[in-house]
Structure formats: structure tokens, C-alpha cells
Amino acid sequence: MPIPARPLALCLVIVAVSALVLGRAQAGGDHYFPPVSDPLVKEECGACHLAFAPSMLPARSWQRMMGDLKHHFGDDASVAPEVAARITDYLVANAADKAGQPYTRKLLRGLSASDTPLRITELPKWVREHREVSDREWRHKNVRTRANCVACHADAERGQYDD
């Protein structure tokens, strides 16, 4: 008996679309940045600020940042050299230009290959996504700094930035 081509094609299309939608849902929508899973990185990078997802900056940025922890946004955040090396490996291996997550590549859109930003908040895409946030909101006592993602993105610790 010949297999009917049209129902089969339709079926395949349905499966493909469902897989795509489900995959998205599992990843938690478009703005998902897998949170840091390495306990050492979580401990060392997450003590003073949110342990930012490695997929929020390109590998070259992480290398530049980890190369000068003595001057870390005005703080001396030095760690032992072997600790710094392990953290760097993790950040580079999961960086925005390595991870292959659909959204993380989008985050680098507009960034010139010769730019090595240290602040996630200076990425052209980040700036565009936050253009509607007013100065008054940034200065709010529960926000105070653009590095304080969780002030507005309640699920930031879990990598969720859809809200």
C-alpha cells in the first residue's frame, strides 16, 4: 500500500512546529540566558552582584575582564590565579559567541568585532531593549544600578529575562 504523501508531510510539519515551540517554552522564551552552573563561578562571581550569565558577553570580553580583576569596575576583586583561570575557562566556554543559544547571538547584534565591551549594559542590543526605562526608574532605591537585573527581572537568577 502506498503511503499517502500529503498527510505525512502535514504530520511532519506539525511535529516540527511543536518541537520548535516546545523547545522555546522549555528554554523559557526568547530572553533566556542559562544561569551560571559552576559552583566556583557562582560563589566567586555571585557574592557581590548577580553571577551574570556567561552568554551575555563575547569570549574576548570575559578574557579582558578576568585579566584585570584588580580594577573590576572600581573594586579590587582579585582571586588566586588558579581560581581566575578556572573561572575564565568557564566564561569563555559558555560565552555569547560560543554557546549557540539563539538569543545570545542576537544580543551581540550591532557590536563591532573590534569592540571588547566590559559592561553588558553597553551592548547596543541591551541599550535598545532598555530604551524605555526612565532615569527616574534607574535611580529608584530598589534599582540604583543597571547591574541590578533582579530588581526588575524577578527570574534573572534562573536566566529568565522575558519580563
Binding site: G46, L50, R144, T145, A147, N148
Partner: protein
């Protein structure tokens, strides 16, 4: 009543005592080594004081960073309150009774004294200051 039943309360309290000692050991070690250092620095040193530690914790300093003039800038008003770093990260209370896992790793304690003393006081803390401060937190 048999012997086993009679010995149960004794063995229970003994094991509690021993376990208590086991978990306090790293803290005792940290204080002991600070005590030796404080004695070496000042022969008249007569032990740590939680009251001096409290004064240190709440004092305002001018030598550190402008946005963190006191321990309480990030740690909250009292050892029992939660705090927040300038970057917005929540900090669990420093009181040992509320954060019983704290102060069990000497290297970690050392790391944070180094960083935070520099940021708040603009210099390293002395062994006496560290011991006083820890004694205050252990008493809370």
C-alpha cells in the same frame, strides 16, 4: 529498666556535645590564630571583646570608599538584618545564629576581611579588630 535504656539520655547528650564541638572547631581555630597574632602585636592584649566588635561594626570610617563608609553599608543596620551590596545583591545576616554556615572556612573569612576592610576602612584590619568583630557575630 535495662542498661541500654538508662544510658540512652547520656549517649544522646554526649553525641550532641561532640557534634556541637565538631561544627564549632573551624571557628575556634580562626579565633585562636587571631588571638596569637593579636598577642604578638600587643603584649598587653587581654582577649577579644564582642562589645568592641559591635562598635567596629557600626562605626563610620573616612578612609575607605565613599559608598561604603561602614560595615553596615552593605550588611544592614544590625547583624540580624539582611543587607545589600552596591550592585544590588542581597546579603544574608552576619549573626551566626541566623547564618549558621558562616565562618567555617578560614580562607573565606580571610578573603572577605581583606576585601571589606580595604573598602570600608581603607586599610587592613588588625588581628584584634577581626577577633573582636567575629566575637560580636558569634554572640549574635
Amino acid at each position: 529498666m535495662n542498661t541500654a535504656a538508662a544510658l540512652l539520655p547520656l549517649s544522646l547528650s554526649l553525641s550532641l556535645l561532640l557534634c556541637g564541638n565538631a561544627s564549632a572547631a573551624p571557628r575556634d581555630d580562626i579565633l585562636r590564630s587571631l588571638d596569637s597574632a593579636a598577642r604578638a602585636a600587643d603584649p598587653a592584649f587581654a582577649g577579644f571583646s564582642a562589645a568592641r566588635g559591635q562598635a567596629l561594626h557600626t562605626q563610620t570610617f573616612a578612609g575607605g570608599k565613599p559608598d561604603t563608609p561602614a560595615c553596615t553599608s552593605c550588611h544592614g543596620a544590625t547583624p540580624r538584618s539582611s543587607g545589600r551590596t552596591p550592585a544590588g545583591k542581597a546579603v544574608e545576616p552576619m549573626a551566626l545564629s541566623l547564618s549558621p554556615t558562616r565562618y567555617s572556612d578560614a580562607a573565606k573569612v580571610d578573603k572577605w576581611f581583606t576585601r571589606n576592610c580595604r573598602d570600608v576602612l581603607g586599610r587592613e584590619c588588625t588581628a584584634r579588630e577581626k577577633g573582636d568583630w567575629l566575637s560580636f557575630m558569634f554572640s549574635q
